[in-house]
Symmetry: C14
Subunit: 89 residues, 14 copies
């Protein structure tokens, strides 16, 4: 008998682990955006006069790549804050 654990505690415990898994989605954008940054720095090194255009392209592309990391954060925050409040309703 695991007597001492309430429903709420079980949900919060699972949510903590679920949030950790969701945040691990950040591995992907981290690698991808770093690749973009490296390629952009290389390109700037070759064509310094095109720096503005290269940075604009890089930032634009990284912004899209950021999205799935943000999804993970959003779901992590929901798991930690919104759901407990919802459960309190």
């Amino acid at each position: 008998m695991i007597q001492g654990i309430s429903n709420e505690a079980f949900i919060l415990g699972c949510s903590a682990i679920g949030a950790g898994l969701a945040l691990m989605a950040g591995i992907g954008p981290g690698i991808g955006q770093g690749y973009a940054a490296g390629k952009a720095a290389e390109a700037v090194g070759r064509q310094p006069e095109a720096q503005g255009d290269i940075i604009k392209t890089m930032i634009l592309g990284q912004a899209v790549a950021e999205s799935t990391g943000i999804y993970g954060l959003v779901v992590g925050i929901i798991l930690l804050f919104v759901r407990p409040l919802l459960g309190a309703l």
Copy 2:
């Protein structure tokens, strides 16, 4: 006997972990879109005058690559919000 855990708590706990797994799908688009951003920045560095076309192509391609990340988010949100409400019906 795990006495204290209700049906709802069990479902919500599993949903939290399932949502975390679903969000990990974002690793793929994150790597892929970052690759696209890097290649586009490189291409702009070579042909600055084609910047508009390159960015359009990159954004278009990234938008499609985004899709599976969004699927993960959608299922994560369903797991966290829609199902509990459905269960309340």
Copy 3:
């Protein structure tokens, strides 16, 4: 004795985890489509006048690559919505 968990709760809990696994199929299309987007952006940078053809090819190829991600979404949705309703029959 895990007394408090009904049949339905057990199925819904497993379905949540199964849906999470199914959605992780999106890692594949995410990487692949991003690769396609990067190659297309690179190609446009080399041949800006062929942009229309390149984008058409990329979109066509990405659409096919999207399919297995959609399969994952379909099965995830079935696990979350259709089966519970079916179970209610």
Copy 4:
């Protein structure tokens, strides 16, 4: 004693997880087809006049690569719909 879980519930729960695993087969075609799309877009960029032939080749090759993803979907659907009905016989 896990008293409350019937035979049917146990099978349905395992089927949900099995379906999730089967759908993860989509990671392979997703990466492969995306690679094909990228190579095709690159090829079109080099030889725009051969676009028709390139796309035909790509689609043909992707269609075959799609197969194992479809197998996963088929088995997932069987696990979710056909078997429960069969079990009802």
Copy 5:
């Protein structure tokens, strides 16, 4: 005591998970066939007049690569349909 689960239910549950594992074999052919499709599209782009020969080679090679995916499907189907019927004998 896991009282409520019959022999048949235990076998069917394990079969569902085993089928999911077997279908994951499709990751390999998916990546391999996609690689073949990409290389073929690239080759057609270089030598459009050899398109027929290239496609024939690609299809032939992919057909062989398909085999292990089909093995997985066959064993998955056996696990889901043939064995339960056999068990009914």
Copy 6:
């Protein structure tokens, strides 16, 4: 006490999972044969007049690579059909 599960059911359940693992050996030949198909298609594109020789070489090499996938299938089939019959002796 897991009362309801007979010896036979336990063996069949483990066999189902073992068969799934054995079939996953198909990931290797799938990737390898696809690589061979891609290289062959590329070679045909360069030397269309050597198509017969290239295909013969590819098929021969793939046939050997197929072997370990077939081993997996053989053991999977043994696990599913031969052993239960043997057990019935």
Copy 7:
């Protein structure tokens, strides 16, 4: 019976593991930013006079790549500090 563990202890224990998982998201940015640093150092070696531009591009790109690592940190901190306080409300 796991008598001695209170609700709070269970949540804090799961939070510690969840925080550890969330922080592992830092693997991605670590690899990516290092790649960017390497490419930038290489570019500076080729065009020392463009050093300012290259570094600016690198830092900008790395700053974006940093984001998912920070998300992991934020969720880790929330799991360790904010939630316990919230639970104390």
Copy 8:
């Protein structure tokens, strides 16, 4: 108490899983032999007149690479057939 499972059933169950693991060794030869087949097909495409020598070399090399896959099969077969008979002595 897991009353119903005899010694023999426990051994046969573990053997089934062990055989599945042993067969997974086939992933290695599958990838390696496919690589050899691809390289050989490429070489034949370049030097069609050396086809006999290339194929001989490829087959010889693949035959050695096959060995570890056969080891896996041998041990799998031993686990499934020889040991149960041995146990019957």
Copy 9:
């Protein structure tokens, strides 16, 4: 009944494992920074007169890449020192 373990011991035990996971984030920066060091050493070998600039760029880039490793350390330290003290309040 796991009688002898207090709440505090359970939290400290989980914290130790969580801290270990958090520190594993250092795999990423370790690979990335080493890549940067290698590229910088290569660049210095080509342009010894630009050594100052290359090292500055490398150090700057590595410092950013270091961040996620430090996050892991911070959370590890919090898990080991701050939380126990907090729990003592």
Copy 10:
């Protein structure tokens, strides 16, 4: 109480799984030897007159690479045959 399982059955069950793990060492030689076969076939294609020397080198190198696969087989066989006999002493 797992009453029905004797010491011998427990050891034989663990040995079966251990043998499966030991045989998985064959993944390494399988990949490595296949790489050697591919490189040798490529080399023969370039220098058909050196075929004898190339094959001798390849076979020699593969024979050494084979060793760890044989170690795995040896330990697997020991686990399956020698130890049970030893236990019977």
Copy 11:
């Protein structure tokens, strides 16, 4: 009932495993620093007269890459020595 294990033993046991995980962070710096060493040795081979500068750059870069490995060591030592003493307070 796991009667014999005290709080302290449970914490020390988990700490041992946590320390092992933390030390595994050394995989990253090990690969990265080795890459740097290889690149530096290559650079020295090309420009022996720049050896001093190359080694200085390599050592500087490796020193930074070392950091996350040291973090792992620090946390490992804390887990093994500091915490037990702290617990003794």
Copy 12:
């Protein structure tokens, strides 16, 4: 109560699994030695007159790479033969 399993059986069971893990170290030398064999075969193809020197170098290098595989074998044998005898003292 797992009554039937003696101390010796528990140790032998764990030793079997530990030996399997130790033997998996052979994956590394297998890949590495195969790489060496491939590179040597390639080198012989380019410089057939240097065959003796190349083979000597390859064998020497492979012999060192073999060492960790032998360590695994040694520990596996110790686990299977020496320890049980030692335990019998």
Copy 13:
């Protein structure tokens, strides 16, 4: 009730597994240092007269890369020898 296991035995058992994990950190330096050795051997082959400098650079770089492997050894030794003695105080 796991009656027979004392506190000390539990700690020593966990320490053994923790030490095994800590030693696995040696995978990183092993790969990295081998890469350095290969690059150095290649460089010596190109510039035999710079052998002294290349070896000095390689050894220096490898010595740093060795560090995290030593950390793992240190913690492993602490886990096996120092802690038990400390526990005896």
Copy 14:
């Protein structure tokens, strides 16, 4: 109640698994040293007259790479021989 297992048996069992994990560190040196051997063989093929220098460099570098594999062996031996004797004091 796991009555029959003494303290010593539990420690020896865990030590066996820990030793297996520690020996798996040999995967790293195996891959790395093999890479070094391949590069050295390649270099000898290009500069046969520098064979002595190349082999010296390779052996020196491999000797350092060997270290972490030896650490694993040392800890494995300690786990299997030294600790049991120590426990007997």
